[in-house]
């Protein structure tokens, strides 16, 4: 992803300084497992 392309609004510009950018591309099975793990960790 290009980081030299600045966003539009002032509050967004800090996004361009990110050292690492991650996007979640889990497959469906891993995603379902991840939801279950989050539920076990946090849903009371």
């Amino acid at each position: 992803m290009r980081v030299d392309i600045l966003p539009t609004d002032e509050w967004m510009k800090g996004a361009a300084n990110a050292k690492q950018i991650f996007e979640n591309f889990q497959n469906a099975d891993d995603q379902a497992a991840n939801y279950a793990a989050a539920m076990a960790d946090f849903k009371k």
Partner: protein, 288 residues
């Protein structure tokens, strides 16, 4: 354009400012927006990706086709059966004068199943009255480890689709189970990310996590005490697409709309409601 198909039905969880501009600029065509059928408010102010996915899946499985175009994250499109979508690469994508943030054709087969038309980045949202600049967390480890934020964090639920889950997924990868243990003492959870940002702006919570901040531009213009902190450990992005649905009742109108979403006017429209659009030449910093 088929003159009998001047309306494209868009399945979306978000405010569809694009629709309004689309109808103004596209020879009388309209995109009817179908939000999740939850509440009247949800039709105007978004629900969540899970609801849109469920709607698309239900229509396709039952062969009851209403939607022409869906508003879904690229990642979500890629895990839904490809047969639910019609491959379409909008001609606007091939405009050589545009510098794209990343290749807009996002599906591995490069067929146009998923075409990225904007990117969002998740800030740590703070209430500027409650969180002074020298107190602001610098990253997600600060959020979890500082006891002063106990009960002061509202986090979009991590156990379903959306920014709350992305944060959980990557924070655990970065910091391991210790991060989970620390965070278990901290937050309150929210299903509605838009309502959660309002609660941060009102001072009900000091910190909001997993929120795209799609109303933030307006809040800031209105003088609300809300500020984005960009974490110095890692940043989470979500790219969004508007795939044409298989068996769309108005396939020509759907394609016109999907193409229009890749144009300058559409991206400027989106930029006014908190999206980070994907083309540099269309979105100089002063636009929107």
């Amino acid at each position: 354009v088929n003159p009998d198909a001047k309306r494209a039905a868009l399945l979306s969880s978000e405010i569809c400012a694009e629709n309004m501009n689309f109808s103004r600029t596209s020879a009388g065509m309209r995109a009817n927006w179908y939000g999740p059928p939850t509440t009247a408010a949800a039709r105007m102010r978004g629900s969540n990706a899970a609801a849109v996915t469920a709607r698309v899946t239900t229509e396709q499985d039952s062969k009851t086709y209403v939607g022409d175009v869906a508003d879904l994250a690229v990642r979500q499109v890629l895990i839904i059966p490809a047969g639910y979508f019609e491959a379409f690469i909008p001609p606007a994508v091939t405009d050589p004068s545009v510098k794209w943030l990343k290749d807009p054709v996002a599906d591995p087969g490069h067929k146009g199943i998923a075409v990225t038309n904007f990117a969002q980045f998740f800030a740590i949202w703070t209430n500027a009255t409650l969180v002074k600049p020298d107190q602001a967390p610098k990253n997600l480890l600060d959020v979890a480890s500082n006891p002063m934020w106990k009960g002061q964090i509202i986090w979009r639920v991590p156990w379903s689709a959306g920014g709350g889950n992305h944060l959980y997924y990557f924070a655990v990868q970065q910091y391991g189970r210790d991060w989970v243990t620390m965070m278990q003492a901290q937050p309150v959870f929210a299903d509605d990310q838009d309502a959660a940002l309002v609660q941060v702006a009102r001072g009900e919570y000091a910190i909001g996590l997993g929120l795209t901040g799609r109303q933030a531009s307006q809040f800031i213009k209105d003088g609300q005490p809300i500020a984005a902190v960009w974490p110095n450990d890692f940043l989470i992005s979500v790219t969004e697409s508007h795939p044409v649905l298989a068996h769309a009742p108005h396939p020509n109108a759907a394609k016109v709309f999907a193409n229009w979403l890749m144009t300058e006017r559409a991206r400027r429209s989106g930029a006014t409601w908190g999206k980070l659009r994907c083309a540099s030449t269309f979105c100089p910093p002063t636009s929107g």
